[in-house]
Point group: C2
Chain length 141, copies 2
DNA sequence: AATTTAAAAGACAAAAACATCTTTTAATCT
DNA sequence: AGATTAAAAGATGTTTTTGTCTTTTAAATT
């Protein structure tokens, strides 16, 4: 489904959304500890997310990563697109390059429902909404 | 979603289901040509599928791969399990080792629908049924 | 029995994904 | 200004996935 990098990215962004703000940043070390993922690898991912304007960051003492209010409004799919690329959503489930309604693969029509379910998870909800829902249910982030 | 090997495997099995039988086998070369996938790589995959009893094969002249009537009755999920492992269905969408209804990840409940859609595609239909449906719709296999 | 055909098996190679380490840059604090 | 802190950037290493090639084994045909 998602690559490992992408899974880390999603978890990191949700965690940042829940626990940080402009005045309350989190360093890679702290974040890596919380998520129990390799520090340097996470650093690379955050770097890319930062470059793409999905998370915010500041250097130096009191620096770190955080999610601005604007950052929170983005759909979760932006994170996925940033790391795994936009193909994840649209590409054929059997990897055929020309699969579509006109030239469908053997699973094309069955796969539509799966496609929609996927969209509901990551395209239809903003980062803020996902976190809100999770906090309501007392889920760990 | 599925690994490349797994995508090849599914396509190969469906093709074999549509065009072969005990008396009408297909060699790796011919199959690779039809599916437009690398011959030797496909060979490896078929070897594994054969070892696991998902496809049938015969050596020597007039040899090749085919699907017996019994082979056809298996659900598509057997192919997926054989190549990508059984985890694909049950594992957490964010890769958390302990994600479940009791200790759910931030996307656990949203992911349920996606899970079900996925099951409907590969667990609820036999290979024979998928091929039948595809042939009815004139889809290329 | 000898030859041919094609899968089975295993060794090997390239690419991508995953992960770590070091250096540089920029910001803060004293 | 100098020291310190932490992200940015880049180099490097490891593992997994993907792909190729060669040898072996078994079956059929002559």
């Amino acid at each position: 489904m998602f690559s490992k990098s992408c899974k880390y990215a999603i978890r990191a962004v949700l965690h940042l959304a829940a626990f940080t703000a402009e005045e309350r940043k989190l360093g890679v070390q702290a974040l890596a500890d919380s998520l129990e993922v390799p520090k340097h690898f996470l650093g690379k991912i955050l770097q890319e997310l930062s470059r793409q304007g999905i998370v915010s960051s500041a250097k130096g003492p009191t620096g770190g990563f955080f999610l601005s209010d604007a950052d929170r409004q983005a759909p979760l799919s932006r994170v996925v697109e940033a790391i795994d690329g936009p193909e994840v959503f649209s590409s054929c489930i059997l990897g055929l390059p020309v699969c579509g309604a006109d030239n469908p693969c053997p699973l094309h029509f069955q796969a539509l429902e799966y496609r929609e379910a996927l969209q509901e998870i990551i395209e239809d909800r903003s980062i803020a909404q996902v976190v809100e829902g999770a906090l309501e249910k007392d889920l760990k982030l």
